[in-house]
Amino acid sequence: MTAVTTITLGLLAAAIGISLGAALRGPTSTDRMLAVDLLLVALSGGLAAAAAFTGRVALLPVVLSVSLVAFVGTVVVGRTLERERRR
């Protein structure tokens, strides 16, 4: 474990922790969803960094899947929230 590895993964872990806190705090559903989106985006970055540091390229498809879930989930929840507000 070099210093770069430790700091990079530590920073991304901190980003995941902070966005988890923001998701728990809210206060609205939109706040929670954007925090969860950030959590997943940071997670995909963390997985990519972990793949680079360990050489485990099998993690890369997981990176892509997490990114897709983050985007599709955010858009679906956003549209649902908008429709509920219009009613």
Partner: protein
């Protein structure tokens, strides 16, 4: 590990933490979207490119694709959430006919994505890409699409300005996330842009969400206005919105939308 890859990943990770701090500190949902939609994709794109540089040329294309995916989807996701919380829900705006590249260009693009995902350029991967690209191209063709034309020179000029503005906007959001609370004074502006095609307006709306301290809340193709949420309004950022649209209008030529052509 390469030095370049390490530096890129460190910078990207730092930007991602700053985005998370912004989400925690900013006062309202729309301001928080700025942090999630600008600093986070920029940071993660750097992490991805850094990881690709470390893993070697066979994986570089894959990570660049993921980085591009984050940069392209972040404004769309932010817009979807922004619509849910914008103060004025707005009226139903007529949807102009969609535009798409020619079938050949789409199949070539999808085949290129396929080859980059596999990470090796062989006859088998290229053939697989053409088959998958043709299938997707046939399945996603709509009869009412308008042809999408791109001027390469103008597109390159747009990308250069876009990247410069993206660096600036990331710094603006980072300063607001870490600095004193007075750096956040959100306001909503309705900005009228110049003439241009509908694809240009859509491209500008997404580019605006990624670049200056602005986030697109609504697009009106008839009135040619963009309703944007600004984290700290000033003249420069309003001008940047109009300038970005002028650049996309030059890159994506076409007729502006009219009453008869909306559905």
């Amino acid at each position: 590990m390469t030095v370049v890859g390490g530096v890129l990943m460190l910078t990207g990770a730092a930007l991602t933490v700053i985005a998370a701090v912004g989400v925690l500190r900013f006062p309202d949902a729309l301001s928080r979207l700025h942090a999630a939609a600008k600093a986070a994709p920029a940071g993660i794109a750097l992490v991805m490119v850094g990881a690709g540089a470390t893993l070697g040329p066979g994986r570089f294309g894959f990570t660049v694709l993921v980085a591009l995916f984050h940069v392209l989807t972040a404004p769309v996701a932010a817009h979807a959430l922004g619509r849910a919380v914008r103060p004025d829900p707005g009226s139903e705006i007529p949807i102009p006919p969609p535009a798409a590249l020619s079938r050949g260009a789409r199949i070539a693009g999808l085949a290129a994505v396929w080859v980059l995902l596999w990470g090796d350029f062989t006859v088998a991967s290229l053939a697989g890409g053409v088959v998958a690209g043709t299938a997707v191209g046939l399945l996603t063709t709509r009869p009412d699409t308008e042809p999408l034309r791109i001027r390469p020179g103008a597109a390159l000029r747009f990308i250069a300005v876009f990247l410069a503005l993206m660096v600036r906007s990331t710094l603006v959001v980072a300063a607001a996330a870490l600095g004193p609370a007075r750096l956040v004074a959100p306001a909503i502006h309705r900005i009228r842009v110049g003439p241009g095609s509908t694809p240009a307006l859509v491209a500008a709306a997404n580019a605006v969400s990624l670049t200056p301290g602005a986030l697109t809340l609504a697009v009106d193709p008839m009135e040619r206005t963009l309703t944007v949420h600004l984290i700290r309004p000033d003249e420069r950022e309003l001008e940047a919105v109009v300038r970005l649209h002028a650049l996309t209008a030059a890159a994506l030529p076409g007729a502006p939308v009219t009453e008869e052509r909306t559905t």
